[in-house]
Protein backbone atom coordinates (compact mmCIF):
# COMPACT_ATOMS: atom_id res chain seq x y z
CA UNK A 1 0.00 0.00 0.00
CA UNK A 2 1.25 3.43 -0.85
CA UNK A 3 -0.44 6.80 -0.76
CA UNK A 4 -3.30 7.93 1.38
CA UNK A 5 -5.55 5.46 3.15
CA UNK A 6 -9.23 6.24 2.81
CA UNK A 7 -9.89 4.91 6.29
CA UNK A 8 -7.16 7.04 7.85
CA UNK A 9 -8.62 10.13 6.19
CA UNK A 10 -12.02 9.32 7.60
CA UNK A 11 -10.59 8.79 11.06
CA UNK A 12 -8.73 12.08 11.13
CA UNK A 13 -11.55 14.03 9.53
CA UNK A 14 -8.97 15.71 7.31
CA UNK A 15 -11.10 15.50 4.23
CA UNK A 16 -13.61 18.17 5.07
CA UNK A 17 -11.00 20.72 5.98
CA UNK A 18 -9.06 20.21 2.76
CA UNK A 19 -12.18 20.48 0.65
CA UNK A 20 -13.56 23.57 2.28
CA UNK A 21 -10.34 25.41 1.50
CA UNK A 22 -10.74 24.93 -2.24
CA UNK A 23 -13.29 27.63 -3.11
CA UNK A 24 -13.36 28.96 -6.66
CA UNK A 25 -12.28 32.47 -7.54
CA UNK A 26 -15.46 34.28 -8.47
CA UNK A 27 -16.37 37.28 -10.58
CA UNK A 28 -19.67 37.79 -8.81
CA UNK A 29 -19.28 35.82 -5.63
CA UNK A 30 -21.87 34.91 -3.08
CA UNK A 31 -19.56 32.57 -1.20
CA UNK A 32 -16.96 29.99 -2.11
CA UNK A 33 -19.44 27.40 -3.42
CA UNK A 34 -21.82 29.71 -5.25
CA UNK A 35 -21.96 32.51 -7.80
CA UNK A 36 -24.78 34.74 -9.02
CA UNK A 37 -25.67 35.08 -12.70
CA UNK A 38 -24.21 38.32 -14.15
CA UNK A 39 -27.67 39.92 -14.62
CA UNK A 40 -29.24 39.03 -11.27
CA UNK A 41 -28.45 41.04 -8.13
CA UNK A 42 -28.58 39.49 -4.68
CA UNK A 43 -31.94 41.11 -3.79
CA UNK A 44 -33.57 39.65 -6.93
CA UNK A 45 -31.93 36.30 -6.22
CA UNK A 46 -33.28 36.30 -2.66
CA UNK A 47 -36.78 37.13 -3.95
CA UNK A 48 -36.56 34.32 -6.52
CA UNK A 49 -35.42 31.88 -3.83
CA UNK A 50 -38.37 32.83 -1.64
CA UNK A 51 -40.79 32.10 -4.48
CA UNK A 52 -39.05 28.81 -5.27
CA UNK A 53 -39.32 27.77 -1.61
CA UNK A 54 -43.05 28.39 -1.81
CA UNK A 55 -43.27 25.96 -4.75
CA UNK A 56 -41.12 23.04 -3.62
CA UNK A 57 -40.80 23.60 0.13
CA UNK A 58 -37.90 25.04 2.10
CA UNK A 59 -35.86 21.88 2.23
CA UNK A 60 -35.71 21.48 -1.56
CA UNK A 61 -34.12 24.83 -2.34
CA UNK A 62 -30.37 24.92 -1.85
CA UNK A 63 -29.15 28.49 -1.70
CA UNK A 64 -26.28 28.62 0.75
CA UNK A 65 -22.68 27.43 0.56
CA UNK A 66 -23.08 24.18 2.48
CA UNK A 67 -26.18 22.94 0.72
CA UNK A 68 -24.92 23.91 -2.76
CA UNK A 69 -21.58 22.14 -2.26
CA UNK A 70 -22.74 18.73 -3.64
CA UNK A 71 -23.66 20.41 -6.93
CA UNK A 72 -20.23 21.95 -7.45
CA UNK A 73 -18.21 18.74 -7.49
CA UNK A 74 -16.76 17.83 -10.87
CA UNK A 75 -13.69 16.02 -12.18
CA UNK A 76 -12.90 18.51 -14.96
CA UNK A 77 -10.59 21.55 -14.68
CA UNK A 78 -12.35 24.77 -13.60
CA UNK A 79 -9.49 27.10 -12.71
CA UNK A 80 -11.39 30.35 -13.16
CA UNK A 81 -14.66 29.41 -11.48
CA UNK A 82 -16.61 29.37 -14.73
CA UNK A 83 -18.96 26.51 -13.80
CA UNK A 84 -20.16 27.45 -10.33
CA UNK A 85 -23.95 27.35 -9.76
CA UNK A 86 -25.90 29.91 -7.70
CA UNK A 87 -27.80 27.13 -5.95
CA UNK A 88 -30.23 24.36 -6.74
CA UNK A 89 -33.94 23.63 -6.69
CA UNK A 90 -35.46 20.15 -6.68
CA UNK A 91 -39.08 19.78 -7.83
CA UNK A 92 -41.17 16.66 -7.22
CA UNK A 93 -43.58 16.98 -10.15
CA UNK A 94 -44.12 18.33 -13.64
CA UNK A 95 -46.38 21.05 -12.24
CA UNK A 96 -43.57 22.17 -9.95
CA UNK A 97 -41.17 22.27 -12.93
CA UNK A 98 -43.61 24.54 -14.76
CA UNK A 99 -44.01 26.80 -11.74
CA UNK A 100 -40.22 26.99 -11.32
CA UNK A 101 -39.72 28.01 -14.95
CA UNK A 102 -42.29 30.77 -14.44
CA UNK A 103 -40.31 32.16 -11.50
CA UNK A 104 -37.07 31.76 -13.43
CA UNK A 105 -38.55 33.78 -16.30
CA UNK A 106 -39.76 36.49 -13.96
CA UNK A 107 -36.30 36.98 -12.42
CA UNK A 108 -34.25 36.01 -15.51
CA UNK A 109 -32.63 33.32 -13.38
CA UNK A 110 -31.23 30.63 -15.71
CA UNK A 111 -31.94 26.99 -14.77
CA UNK A 112 -29.52 24.13 -15.55
CA UNK A 113 -31.53 20.87 -15.57
CA UNK A 114 -29.91 17.66 -14.36
CA UNK A 115 -31.34 14.19 -13.89
CA UNK A 116 -28.83 12.70 -11.48
CA UNK A 117 -25.86 14.90 -12.40
CA UNK A 118 -23.38 12.04 -12.86
CA UNK A 119 -21.97 13.10 -16.22
CA UNK A 120 -18.55 11.86 -15.16
CA UNK A 121 -16.05 13.08 -17.75
CA UNK A 122 -18.11 16.06 -18.81
CA UNK A 123 -18.72 18.19 -15.71
CA UNK A 124 -21.18 16.25 -13.50
CA UNK A 125 -23.99 18.65 -12.44
CA UNK A 126 -22.08 21.87 -13.07
CA UNK A 127 -23.53 24.43 -15.51
CA UNK A 128 -22.00 25.73 -18.74
CA UNK A 129 -21.63 29.15 -17.12
CA UNK A 130 -21.51 30.33 -13.51
CA UNK A 131 -24.62 31.60 -11.78
CA UNK A 132 -27.13 29.21 -13.28
CA UNK A 133 -29.31 27.46 -10.73
CA UNK A 134 -29.28 23.68 -10.94
CA UNK A 135 -32.75 22.27 -11.63
CA UNK A 136 -32.31 18.91 -9.91
CA UNK A 137 -34.92 16.43 -11.19
CA UNK A 138 -33.74 13.50 -9.05
CA UNK A 139 -36.86 13.55 -6.85
CA UNK A 140 -38.96 12.75 -9.93
CA UNK A 141 -38.03 9.09 -9.83
CA UNK A 142 -41.07 7.06 -10.79
CA UNK A 143 -41.16 4.16 -13.23
CA UNK A 144 -44.48 5.25 -14.75
CA UNK A 145 -45.04 2.29 -17.02
CA UNK A 146 -43.45 -1.06 -17.76
CA UNK A 147 -45.12 -2.91 -20.63
CA UNK A 148 -44.08 -6.52 -20.15
CA UNK A 149 -45.40 -7.53 -23.57
CA UNK A 150 -43.63 -4.85 -25.59
CA UNK A 151 -40.60 -4.49 -23.36
CA UNK A 152 -41.00 -0.72 -23.07
CA UNK A 153 -40.71 1.63 -20.12
CA UNK A 154 -41.72 5.18 -19.40
CA UNK A 155 -39.54 6.75 -16.73
CA UNK A 156 -38.89 10.06 -15.00
CA UNK A 157 -35.45 11.72 -14.93
CA UNK A 158 -34.55 10.59 -11.41
CA UNK A 159 -34.79 6.87 -12.24
CA UNK A 160 -31.32 5.30 -12.14
CA UNK A 161 -30.31 2.17 -14.00
CA UNK A 162 -29.97 0.49 -10.59
CA UNK A 163 -33.59 1.35 -9.75
CA UNK A 164 -34.83 -0.13 -13.00
CA UNK A 165 -32.57 -3.14 -12.58
CA UNK A 166 -34.04 -3.76 -9.13
CA UNK A 167 -37.56 -3.42 -10.54
CA UNK A 168 -36.83 -5.98 -13.26
CA UNK A 169 -35.38 -8.42 -10.73
CA UNK A 170 -38.16 -7.91 -8.18
CA UNK A 171 -40.80 -8.58 -10.82
CA UNK A 172 -38.84 -11.29 -12.61
CA UNK A 173 -39.28 -9.61 -15.99
CA UNK A 174 -37.56 -11.17 -19.05
CA UNK A 175 -35.68 -8.03 -20.11
CA UNK A 176 -32.17 -6.60 -19.97
CA UNK A 177 -31.03 -3.04 -19.54
CA UNK A 178 -28.27 -1.43 -21.52
CA UNK A 179 -26.07 0.58 -19.18
CA UNK A 180 -23.43 3.23 -19.61
CA UNK A 181 -20.38 2.60 -17.42
CA UNK A 182 -21.14 3.49 -13.79
CA UNK A 183 -24.81 2.79 -14.56
CA UNK A 184 -25.99 2.22 -10.98
CA UNK A 185 -25.89 5.92 -10.06
CA UNK A 186 -26.73 7.28 -13.53
CA UNK A 187 -30.13 8.37 -14.86
CA UNK A 188 -31.55 6.54 -17.87
CA UNK A 189 -33.13 9.80 -19.03
CA UNK A 190 -29.95 11.82 -18.55
CA UNK A 191 -27.68 9.40 -20.36
CA UNK A 192 -30.12 8.96 -23.23
CA UNK A 193 -30.58 12.72 -23.64
CA UNK A 194 -26.78 13.09 -23.81
CA UNK A 195 -26.86 10.35 -26.46
CA UNK A 196 -24.65 8.05 -24.42
CA UNK A 197 -23.80 4.52 -25.47
CA UNK A 198 -23.71 1.08 -23.89
CA UNK A 199 -22.50 -2.40 -24.70
CA UNK A 200 -25.40 -4.74 -25.48
CA UNK A 201 -27.21 -4.92 -28.84
CA UNK A 202 -29.27 -1.96 -27.52
CA UNK A 203 -26.12 0.11 -27.04
CA UNK A 204 -27.19 3.20 -28.98
CA UNK A 205 -29.46 4.62 -26.29
CA UNK A 206 -31.14 7.36 -28.27
CA UNK A 207 -31.88 4.88 -31.07
CA UNK A 208 -33.83 2.81 -28.50
CA UNK A 209 -35.72 5.82 -27.12
CA UNK A 210 -39.43 6.17 -27.93
CA UNK A 211 -41.47 9.18 -26.93
CA UNK A 212 -40.81 11.96 -24.44
CA UNK A 213 -42.61 14.62 -22.47
CA UNK A 214 -41.04 18.08 -22.50
CA UNK A 215 -41.82 21.22 -20.53
CA UNK A 216 -41.03 24.31 -22.59
CA UNK A 217 -39.90 27.59 -21.07
CA UNK A 218 -43.40 29.08 -21.34
CA UNK A 219 -44.93 26.11 -19.53
CA UNK A 220 -46.20 24.32 -22.65
CA UNK A 221 -46.28 20.56 -22.11
CA UNK A 222 -45.30 18.65 -25.28
CA UNK A 223 -45.56 14.91 -25.68
CA UNK A 224 -43.61 13.84 -28.75
CA UNK A 225 -44.61 11.26 -31.34
CA UNK A 226 -47.82 9.32 -30.60
CA UNK A 227 -47.96 10.88 -27.12
CA UNK A 228 -49.72 13.90 -28.58
CA UNK A 229 -52.70 11.77 -29.65
CA UNK A 230 -55.59 11.70 -27.19
CA UNK A 231 -55.86 8.26 -25.53
CA UNK A 232 -53.00 6.86 -27.62
CA UNK A 233 -51.79 3.39 -26.65
CA UNK A 234 -48.82 3.65 -29.04
CA UNK A 235 -46.58 6.28 -27.36
CA UNK A 236 -43.76 3.84 -26.49
CA UNK A 237 -44.27 1.60 -29.54
CA UNK A 238 -43.78 3.98 -32.51
CA UNK A 239 -41.03 6.56 -32.57
CA UNK A 240 -41.83 8.84 -35.46
CA UNK A 241 -45.39 10.13 -34.97
CA UNK A 242 -46.61 12.50 -37.67
CA UNK A 243 -44.84 15.46 -39.22
CA UNK A 244 -41.34 16.55 -38.23
CA UNK A 245 -39.66 14.19 -35.77
CA UNK A 246 -39.04 16.40 -32.71
CA UNK A 247 -37.36 14.16 -30.12
CA UNK A 248 -33.89 14.84 -31.50
CA UNK A 249 -34.01 18.58 -30.83
CA UNK A 250 -34.45 17.94 -27.12
CA UNK A 251 -31.28 15.81 -26.85
CA UNK A 252 -27.95 17.54 -26.04
CA UNK A 253 -30.11 20.64 -26.03
CA UNK A 254 -31.55 23.49 -24.00
CA UNK A 255 -34.85 23.82 -25.85
CA UNK A 256 -36.94 22.34 -23.04
CA UNK A 257 -36.90 20.28 -19.84
CA UNK A 258 -37.56 16.59 -20.50
CA UNK A 259 -39.73 15.18 -17.71
CA UNK A 260 -40.62 11.73 -19.10
CA UNK A 261 -38.85 9.40 -21.49
CA UNK A 262 -39.84 6.14 -23.17
CA UNK A 263 -37.26 3.41 -23.82
CA UNK A 264 -37.17 0.00 -25.45
CA UNK A 265 -35.60 -2.91 -23.54
CA UNK A 266 -33.87 -5.94 -24.97
CA UNK A 267 -35.58 -9.31 -24.44
CA UNK A 268 -33.30 -11.43 -22.29
CA UNK A 269 -31.66 -14.01 -24.57
CA UNK A 270 -31.58 -17.70 -23.60
CA UNK A 271 -27.80 -17.84 -24.06
CA UNK A 272 -25.13 -15.14 -23.75
CA UNK A 273 -21.46 -15.71 -24.60
CA UNK A 274 -18.87 -12.98 -24.03
CA UNK A 275 -15.49 -12.89 -25.80
CA UNK A 276 -12.29 -10.90 -25.63
CA UNK A 277 -9.79 -10.67 -28.48
CA UNK A 278 -6.29 -9.70 -27.41
CA UNK A 279 -3.96 -7.91 -29.81
CA UNK A 280 -0.31 -7.65 -28.77
CA UNK A 281 0.77 -4.40 -30.47
CA UNK A 282 -0.35 -0.76 -30.46
CA UNK A 283 -0.35 -0.76 -34.28
CA UNK A 284 -2.91 -3.59 -34.34
CA UNK A 285 -5.70 -1.05 -33.82
CA UNK A 286 -6.22 -0.76 -37.59
CA UNK A 287 -6.47 -4.51 -38.21
CA UNK A 288 -8.84 -4.93 -35.29
CA UNK A 289 -11.13 -2.15 -36.52
CA UNK A 290 -11.27 -3.52 -40.05
CA UNK A 291 -12.12 -6.96 -38.65
CA UNK A 292 -14.93 -5.72 -36.42
CA UNK A 293 -16.65 -3.39 -38.94
CA UNK A 294 -18.16 -6.00 -41.30
CA UNK A 295 -19.58 -7.97 -38.37
CA UNK A 296 -21.19 -4.87 -36.93
CA UNK A 297 -22.63 -4.01 -40.36
CA UNK A 298 -24.09 -7.47 -41.00
CA UNK A 299 -24.96 -7.84 -37.31
CA UNK A 300 -23.20 -11.16 -36.77
CA UNK A 301 -21.74 -9.24 -33.83
CA UNK A 302 -24.82 -7.42 -32.56
CA UNK A 303 -23.55 -5.50 -29.54
CA UNK A 304 -21.72 -2.23 -28.94
CA UNK A 305 -18.14 -3.51 -29.26
CA UNK A 306 -15.42 -2.00 -27.10
CA UNK A 307 -11.81 -1.91 -28.23
CA UNK A 308 -9.94 -1.02 -25.07
CA UNK A 309 -6.38 0.24 -24.89
CA UNK A 310 -4.16 -1.35 -22.24
CA UNK A 311 -3.74 1.92 -20.39
CA UNK A 312 -7.48 2.59 -20.10
CA UNK A 313 -7.92 -0.94 -18.78
CA UNK A 314 -5.13 -0.74 -16.22
CA UNK A 315 -6.37 2.63 -14.97
CA UNK A 316 -9.71 1.13 -13.97
CA UNK A 317 -8.10 -0.81 -11.14
CA UNK A 318 -4.66 0.73 -10.62
CA UNK A 319 -3.00 4.05 -10.04
CA UNK A 320 -0.23 5.40 -12.21
CA UNK A 321 2.34 5.16 -9.43
CA UNK A 322 1.56 1.45 -8.97
CA UNK A 323 2.99 0.94 -12.44
CA UNK A 324 5.49 3.74 -12.95
CA UNK A 325 7.20 6.14 -10.57
CA UNK A 326 9.04 8.24 -13.12
CA UNK A 327 7.74 11.56 -14.41
CA UNK A 328 5.64 12.04 -17.53
CA UNK A 329 3.67 9.38 -19.38
CA UNK A 330 4.38 5.69 -18.83
CA UNK A 331 6.97 4.47 -21.37
CA UNK A 332 5.62 2.04 -23.98
CA UNK A 333 7.75 -0.92 -22.82
CA UNK A 334 6.71 -0.48 -19.18
CA UNK A 335 3.06 -0.34 -20.22
CA UNK A 336 3.31 -3.43 -22.36
CA UNK A 337 5.03 -5.43 -19.61
CA UNK A 338 2.34 -4.41 -17.10
CA UNK A 339 -0.42 -5.31 -19.56
CA UNK A 340 1.10 -8.75 -20.16
CA UNK A 341 1.42 -9.33 -16.41
CA UNK A 342 -2.32 -8.72 -16.09
CA UNK A 343 -3.46 -10.89 -18.97
CA UNK A 344 -4.13 -7.89 -21.22
CA UNK A 345 -3.16 -7.08 -24.78
CA UNK A 346 -2.28 -3.58 -25.96
CA UNK A 347 -5.79 -3.67 -27.45
CA UNK A 348 -8.59 -5.78 -26.00
CA UNK A 349 -11.75 -6.19 -28.06
CA UNK A 350 -14.87 -7.14 -26.13
CA UNK A 351 -17.87 -8.49 -28.00
CA UNK A 352 -20.61 -11.02 -27.26
CA UNK A 353 -22.98 -13.39 -29.00
CA UNK A 354 -26.61 -13.67 -27.94
CA UNK A 355 -29.33 -16.16 -28.80
CA UNK A 356 -29.47 -19.94 -28.56
CA UNK A 357 -26.67 -22.50 -28.46
CA UNK A 358 -27.40 -23.31 -32.12
CA UNK A 359 -27.20 -19.66 -33.24
CA UNK A 360 -24.01 -19.01 -31.29
CA UNK A 361 -22.54 -22.30 -32.48
CA UNK A 362 -23.07 -21.23 -36.08
CA UNK A 363 -21.70 -17.68 -35.72
CA UNK A 364 -18.72 -18.27 -33.44
CA UNK A 365 -16.46 -20.05 -35.98
CA UNK A 366 -17.01 -17.27 -38.52
CA UNK A 367 -16.00 -14.40 -36.23
CA UNK A 368 -13.30 -16.42 -34.48
CA UNK A 369 -11.68 -17.24 -37.80
CA UNK A 370 -11.66 -13.61 -38.89
CA UNK A 371 -10.16 -12.32 -35.64
CA UNK A 372 -7.48 -15.02 -35.62
CA UNK A 373 -6.59 -14.26 -39.23
CA UNK A 374 -6.05 -10.62 -38.21
CA UNK A 375 -3.53 -11.60 -35.53
CA UNK A 376 -5.89 -11.55 -32.53
CA UNK A 377 -6.10 -14.12 -29.76
CA UNK A 378 -9.77 -15.06 -29.19
CA UNK A 379 -10.62 -15.93 -25.59
CA UNK A 380 -13.77 -16.81 -23.67
CA UNK A 381 -14.80 -17.42 -20.08
CA UNK A 382 -13.04 -20.78 -20.35
CA UNK A 383 -9.69 -18.99 -20.26
CA UNK A 384 -10.58 -15.62 -18.74
CA UNK A 385 -12.93 -16.22 -15.80
CA UNK A 386 -11.52 -14.38 -12.80
CA UNK A 387 -9.63 -11.82 -14.88
CA UNK A 388 -11.01 -8.52 -13.45
CA UNK A 389 -11.18 -6.84 -16.87
CA UNK A 390 -12.95 -9.73 -18.54
CA UNK A 391 -15.40 -9.93 -15.62
CA UNK A 392 -16.05 -6.19 -15.90
CA UNK A 393 -16.89 -6.36 -19.60
CA UNK A 394 -18.86 -9.57 -19.14
CA UNK A 395 -21.04 -7.55 -16.76
CA UNK A 396 -21.36 -4.57 -19.13
CA UNK A 397 -22.25 -6.62 -22.23
CA UNK A 398 -25.32 -8.01 -20.45
CA UNK A 399 -26.30 -4.61 -19.05
CA UNK A 400 -25.15 -5.45 -15.51
CA UNK A 401 -24.42 -3.03 -12.70
CA UNK A 402 -20.82 -1.88 -12.12
CA UNK A 403 -19.12 1.21 -10.71
CA UNK A 404 -15.61 0.01 -11.47
CA UNK A 405 -14.74 2.49 -14.20
CA UNK A 406 -14.83 5.38 -11.74
CA UNK A 407 -11.39 4.04 -10.84
CA UNK A 408 -10.02 5.89 -13.88
CA UNK A 409 -10.55 9.21 -12.15
CA UNK A 410 -8.01 8.47 -9.42
CA UNK A 411 -5.12 7.67 -11.78
CA UNK A 412 -3.09 10.61 -10.50
CA UNK A 413 -2.98 12.33 -7.10
CA UNK A 414 -6.34 13.46 -5.76
CA UNK A 415 -7.97 12.45 -9.02
CA UNK A 416 -9.44 14.29 -11.98
CA UNK A 417 -10.50 13.48 -15.52
CA UNK A 418 -11.96 15.08 -18.59
CA UNK A 419 -13.20 13.12 -21.57
CA UNK A 420 -12.69 13.85 -25.25
CA UNK A 421 -14.89 11.78 -27.53
CA UNK A 422 -14.29 12.35 -31.23
CA UNK A 423 -16.23 10.18 -33.69
CA UNK A 424 -14.89 8.69 -36.91
CA UNK A 425 -15.90 6.18 -39.55
CA UNK A 426 -15.05 2.63 -38.47
CA UNK A 427 -12.00 2.25 -40.71
CA UNK A 428 -8.54 1.09 -39.65
CA UNK A 429 -6.69 4.07 -41.09
CA UNK A 430 -8.94 6.46 -39.17
CA UNK A 431 -8.32 4.79 -35.81
CA UNK A 432 -4.60 4.67 -36.46
CA UNK A 433 -4.58 8.38 -37.31
CA UNK A 434 -6.62 9.34 -34.26
CA UNK A 435 -4.57 7.24 -31.86
CA UNK A 436 -1.29 8.62 -33.22
CA UNK A 437 -2.46 12.23 -32.94
CA UNK A 438 -3.87 11.81 -29.43
CA UNK A 439 -0.71 10.07 -28.22
CA UNK A 440 1.51 12.81 -29.63
CA UNK A 441 -0.47 15.65 -28.04
CA UNK A 442 -1.10 14.00 -24.67
CA UNK A 443 2.48 12.84 -24.23
CA UNK A 444 3.72 16.32 -25.09
CA UNK A 445 1.81 17.62 -22.05
CA UNK A 446 3.04 14.76 -19.89
CA UNK A 447 -0.24 12.79 -19.82
CA UNK A 448 -0.95 9.16 -20.59
CA UNK A 449 -3.13 8.34 -23.60
CA UNK A 450 -6.01 6.19 -22.26
CA UNK A 451 -8.20 5.11 -25.18
CA UNK A 452 -11.42 3.18 -25.63
CA UNK A 453 -13.10 2.82 -28.99
CA UNK A 454 -16.82 2.05 -28.93
CA UNK A 455 -17.77 0.63 -32.30
CA UNK A 456 -21.37 1.15 -33.36
CA UNK A 457 -22.38 0.20 -36.89
CA UNK A 458 -20.34 2.20 -39.36
CA UNK A 459 -18.80 4.60 -36.88
CA UNK A 460 -16.78 4.55 -33.73
CA UNK A 461 -16.71 6.77 -30.69
CA UNK A 462 -13.12 7.29 -29.61
CA UNK A 463 -13.35 7.86 -25.85
CA UNK A 464 -10.13 9.42 -24.57
CA UNK A 465 -9.84 9.94 -20.83
CA UNK A 466 -7.41 12.69 -19.94
CA UNK A 467 -6.55 11.74 -16.36
CA UNK A 468 -4.86 14.40 -14.24
CA UNK A 469 -4.54 15.57 -10.63
CA UNK A 470 -7.20 18.20 -10.00
CA UNK A 471 -5.59 18.83 -6.63
CA UNK A 472 -2.62 20.42 -8.47
CA UNK A 473 -3.59 23.70 -10.18
CA UNK A 474 -0.58 23.68 -12.49
CA UNK A 475 -1.47 20.19 -13.68
CA UNK A 476 -5.15 21.12 -14.09
CA UNK A 477 -4.05 24.08 -16.24
CA UNK A 478 -1.94 21.75 -18.37
CA UNK A 479 -4.89 19.39 -18.73
CA UNK A 480 -7.07 22.27 -19.91
CA UNK A 481 -4.52 23.42 -22.49
CA UNK A 482 -3.94 19.86 -23.66
CA UNK A 483 -7.70 19.28 -24.10
CA UNK A 484 -8.11 22.49 -26.10
CA UNK A 485 -5.23 21.53 -28.37
CA UNK A 486 -6.68 18.06 -28.91
CA UNK A 487 -10.12 19.39 -29.80
CA UNK A 488 -8.61 21.99 -32.14
CA UNK A 489 -6.15 19.72 -33.92
CA UNK A 490 -8.60 16.84 -34.29
CA UNK A 491 -11.02 19.40 -35.73
CA UNK A 492 -8.43 20.43 -38.32
CA UNK A 493 -8.48 16.82 -39.53
CA UNK A 494 -12.30 16.79 -39.70
CA UNK A 495 -12.69 14.79 -36.48
CA UNK A 496 -15.08 16.27 -33.94
CA UNK A 497 -16.58 15.25 -30.62
CA UNK A 498 -20.09 13.79 -30.31
CA UNK A 499 -20.42 15.24 -26.79
CA UNK A 500 -18.18 17.40 -24.65
CA UNK A 501 -17.53 18.77 -21.18
CA UNK A 502 -19.31 21.94 -20.09
CA UNK A 503 -15.93 23.70 -20.33
CA UNK A 504 -15.47 23.01 -24.05
CA UNK A 505 -18.98 23.35 -25.47
CA UNK A 506 -18.36 26.64 -27.29
CA UNK A 507 -15.17 25.36 -28.86
CA UNK A 508 -16.75 22.15 -30.13
CA UNK A 509 -19.92 23.94 -31.31
CA UNK A 510 -17.75 26.33 -33.34
CA UNK A 511 -16.31 23.35 -35.23
CA UNK A 512 -19.77 22.44 -36.45
CA UNK A 513 -19.95 25.74 -38.32
CA UNK A 514 -21.94 28.94 -38.37
CA UNK A 515 -25.04 27.67 -40.20
CA UNK A 516 -25.49 24.88 -37.67
CA UNK A 517 -25.08 27.31 -34.76
CA UNK A 518 -27.48 29.83 -36.28
CA UNK A 519 -30.23 27.28 -36.83
CA UNK A 520 -29.90 26.13 -33.22
CA UNK A 521 -29.91 29.76 -32.06
CA UNK A 522 -33.11 30.47 -34.03
CA UNK A 523 -34.88 27.45 -32.55
CA UNK A 524 -33.71 28.56 -29.10
CA UNK A 525 -35.04 32.06 -29.70
CA UNK A 526 -38.42 30.68 -30.76
CA UNK A 527 -38.83 28.23 -27.85
CA UNK A 528 -37.04 30.03 -25.03
CA UNK A 529 -36.70 33.73 -25.92
CA UNK A 530 -35.61 34.69 -22.39
CA UNK A 531 -32.86 32.02 -22.44
CA UNK A 532 -33.98 30.59 -19.12
CA UNK A 533 -33.10 26.95 -19.81
CA UNK A 534 -29.41 26.01 -19.65
CA UNK A 535 -27.82 28.84 -21.64
CA UNK A 536 -24.53 27.71 -23.22
CA UNK A 537 -25.54 24.04 -23.33
CA UNK A 538 -23.82 22.59 -26.43
CA UNK A 539 -22.77 26.15 -27.29
CA UNK A 540 -26.38 27.34 -27.70
CA UNK A 541 -26.60 30.65 -25.84
Amino acid sequence: MNGVSRRDMLRTGAVGTALLASGAAAASPLDSARMLPPDVNSAAFAAAVAELRAIVGNEWVFADADSTLPYTKSFIPDLRGEHVPSGAVAPASVDEVRAILKVASKYRLPMWPISTGKNMGYGMATPASSGQMVLDLKRMNRILDFDAELGTVLVEPGVTYQQLNDYIEANNLPYWLDVPTVGPIVSMVGNTLERGVGYTPYGDHFFMQCGMEVVLADGTLLKTGMGSVKDSTTWQAFKWGYGPYLDGIFTQSNFGVVTKLGMWLMPKPPVYKPFVVRYPNVEDVAKATDTIRPFRMNNLIPNGVLMMGALYQLAMFKRQRDIYTGTGPIPADVLKAEATRNGLGMWNVYFALYGTDEIIGAVEPIVRGAFEASGGEVLTSDEMTGNPWFEHHRTLMRGGMSLEEIGLVRWRGMGGAIAFAPVAPAKGAETQGQSALATEIMNKYGFDYAPAYAIGGRELHHIIFLMFDKGDDAEAARAETCMNEMITRFGERGWCAYRSSVSTMDLVASQYGEANRQVNARIKQALDPLHIIAPGKQGIA
Binding site: R11, V15, P70, T72, G117, K118, D136
Partner: protein, 58 residues
Protein backbone atom coordinates in the same frame (compact mmCIF):
# COMPACT_ATOMS: atom_id res chain seq x y z
CA UNK B 1 -6.35 11.48 24.16
CA UNK B 2 -9.79 11.88 22.57
CA UNK B 3 -12.48 9.70 24.08
CA UNK B 4 -13.93 6.98 21.80
CA UNK B 5 -17.28 8.81 21.63
CA UNK B 6 -15.58 11.97 20.32
CA UNK B 7 -13.68 9.97 17.73
CA UNK B 8 -16.89 8.32 16.54
CA UNK B 9 -18.59 11.71 16.18
CA UNK B 10 -15.64 13.10 14.24
CA UNK B 11 -15.63 10.05 11.98
CA UNK B 12 -19.34 10.36 11.30
CA UNK B 13 -19.03 14.02 10.43
CA UNK B 14 -16.06 13.27 8.15
CA UNK B 15 -18.11 10.61 6.36
CA UNK B 16 -21.02 13.01 5.93
CA UNK B 17 -18.67 15.67 4.58
CA UNK B 18 -17.06 13.21 2.18
CA UNK B 19 -20.39 12.07 0.77
CA UNK B 20 -21.79 15.58 0.36
CA UNK B 21 -18.65 17.10 -1.19
CA UNK B 22 -17.20 14.14 -3.05
CA UNK B 23 -13.58 13.52 -2.24
CA UNK B 24 -11.03 12.94 -4.99
CA UNK B 25 -12.45 10.42 -7.43
CA UNK B 26 -15.69 10.08 -5.48
CA UNK B 27 -18.77 11.85 -6.89
CA UNK B 28 -20.76 14.05 -4.50
CA UNK B 29 -24.17 12.81 -3.40
CA UNK B 30 -27.01 15.25 -2.71
CA UNK B 31 -29.98 15.20 -0.33
CA UNK B 32 -32.14 14.35 -3.38
CA UNK B 33 -30.15 11.10 -3.66
CA UNK B 34 -29.54 10.27 0.01
CA UNK B 35 -31.42 12.20 2.68
CA UNK B 36 -29.71 13.66 5.75
CA UNK B 37 -31.33 10.97 7.90
CA UNK B 38 -30.24 8.16 5.58
CA UNK B 39 -26.73 9.56 5.44
CA UNK B 40 -26.52 9.82 9.22
CA UNK B 41 -27.57 6.18 9.52
CA UNK B 42 -25.03 5.17 6.87
CA UNK B 43 -22.26 7.11 8.59
CA UNK B 44 -23.15 5.44 11.88
CA UNK B 45 -23.00 2.02 10.25
CA UNK B 46 -19.70 2.67 8.49
CA UNK B 47 -18.03 4.13 11.56
CA UNK B 48 -19.02 1.19 13.75
CA UNK B 49 -18.60 -1.67 11.26
CA UNK B 50 -15.55 -3.89 11.35
CA UNK B 51 -12.83 -3.44 8.80
CA UNK B 52 -13.11 -5.79 5.84
CA UNK B 53 -9.72 -7.54 5.63
CA UNK B 54 -10.24 -8.04 1.90
CA UNK B 55 -10.64 -4.31 1.26
CA UNK B 56 -7.87 -3.25 -1.09
CA UNK B 57 -8.80 0.33 -1.91
CA UNK B 58 -6.54 3.22 -1.05
Amino acid sequence: MPRPADTATATMSAITMMVRSGNGAMPAFRPTEISDAELAALAQWISTSKKDPKEHGQ
